[in-house]
Amino acid sequence: MKYTTIIKKIAALSLSAVLAAGALTACSGSGSGTASEGNAGEKNNATFRTVDEIKESGKVIIGVFSDKAPFGYVDENGSYQGYDVYFAERIAKDLGVQVEYVSTDPASRVEYAAVEYAATGKVDIILANFTVTEERAEKVDFALPYMKVKLGVVSPDSAVVRSIDDLKDKTLIVVKGTTAETYFEKNEPDVKLQKYDEYADAYNALLQGRGDAFSTDNTEVLAWAIVNPGYTVGIDALGNADTIAPAVQKGNTSLLNWLNDEIKSLGKENFFHADYDATLASVYGAAANPDSLVVEGGVVD
């Protein structure tokens, strides 16, 4: 009697373990497997829609952020707004179709979801402030960039940091794991770094004068400086530009080429500067230079 219950328990436990292991490999499998499956594209090809098919259906499905102002957000009347959305509206207009938005999430795991959205053909285009990385480029096809992000440095008005030389022997606040941390460690060993885990802690440290300046993505510090009088972004474009581009499903060359042509022709009318004026100017203020963010015609200088 006792013997059989023990056997049963062991059997149940080992079954659970096997299943758990299966679950784990399934997770990592679907995550990393996509890259290697890239050339098994024939099967996937069935799920994406070409430009002609989109036009025929009368509707383009675009994945955007719904809670990342001022790039993609929903206003109080429930309509999508922002820099990415402004572009999305134009894409729909030039395709001659209606636009349907799918909300993607900025939480870290969702970058994976965003890749998955495009890779499974749930959306035609991802326009969710999607930073171009080599890793992602293995899973989706990026069109030409329409925005770039560099590093910015914000400091008190009393001692504005305007160049890297101003930072010599001063303390710079950074957030762990950001590009700012890597950039300064690698290129500017003379700058003393003070590291924090959270953005909120880093901003508080700056407000309390525990460091001389704070560096992170320029979009972030620009927006912060506007609502915190007494602080100025002295350096607004430092380091290598990370570019932000629309993504389509891997192998969807028809849509990719259409987007690239679209971005090039929009460059001629300075469309993205108009986009900046309509959506970002009020957030970043008159002091910010649009050219430190906007990319026209897909050309990054």
């Binding site: 299943l19 109080e76 909300s103 890779a119 053909g121 749930k122």
Partner: protein, 224 residues
């Protein structure tokens, strides 16, 4: 000017949007609950069958669903299935499917547990009083089982309602996501709005779950 942030709830159509979000939450979870209650009872009965094959099947199903995080199941149903078979399931369909599969497994185990907890002497006494198998099950066993099943079932139902907040990750905008959207838009103008918005979301979840608790206590009184 001191902005407390509560006015954010009434800007534009914000409040209506929160209610719409709540309706999405309630729609998905209620559909899943309504499907998984009967299916779970059937599955629970299936689990009690004294047959090695049926036992193995139900064991594998239960452990699989129970061990997999619901998020993984959602991703499998929404993205994985499209990738593997090319079936493009609607996000809400995927959500209802996953929550029904989960609810059925959990409910089945609750039913099995409740049935097992009825002591053998209840059967024996009923037979001794001359009842046949059918009378015993209908008038002695099932009423006791239902009573024991009630609290854990309510628990499962409210848990399902709350877990539906995961569906944002497959692109469904439910009540919590609407709340986050509202907070984000107003984060510079009303930095304290998050407290009010999360407060409102809390009240909405409460309003969704409370009637279920009321129903439960009513039934418990009624079945005493």
């Amino acid at each position: 000017m001191r902005a407390s942030g509560i006015e954010v709830l009434f800007l534009g159509s914000n409040f209506a949007r929160l209610l719409e979000g709540l309706w999405v939450t309630v729609r998905i979870s209620l559909l899943a609950v309504l499907l998984s209650l009967p299916l779970g009872i059937l599955f629970g009965l299936f689990m009690t069958l004294q047959n090695p094959i049926s036992k193995a099947i139900s064991r594998v199903y239960l452990e699989f669903i129970r061990i997999m995080p619901q998020l993984v199941l959602l991703f499998i149903a929404y993205f994985g299935v499209t990738r593997a078979f090319g079936w493009n399931w609607d996000a809400e369909f995927s959500a209802v499917l996953v929550f029904t599969l989960w609810g059925t497994a959990e409910m089945g185990d609750l039913v099995r547990g409740a049935l097992k907890s009825i002591p053998q002497h209840q059967y024996d006494s009923a037979y001794a009083l001359g009842m046949n198998r059918r009378q015993t099950v209908l008038t002695i066993i099932i009423p006791q089982t239902l009573r024991r099943l009630l609290p854990p079932t309510i628990n499962l139902t409210t848990r399902m309602i709350k877990t539906t907040s995961l569906v944002v990750l497959i692109g469904i905008t439910e009540v919590l996501k609407v709340g986050k959207q509202i907070i984000d838009v107003n984060r510079f103008r009303y930095p304290t709005a998050s407290l009010w918005v999360y407060g409102a979301v809390f009240v909405l979840y409460f309003l969704a779950c409370w009637p279920i608790s009321l129903l439960a206590s009513y039934l418990e009184r009624r079945w005493r």
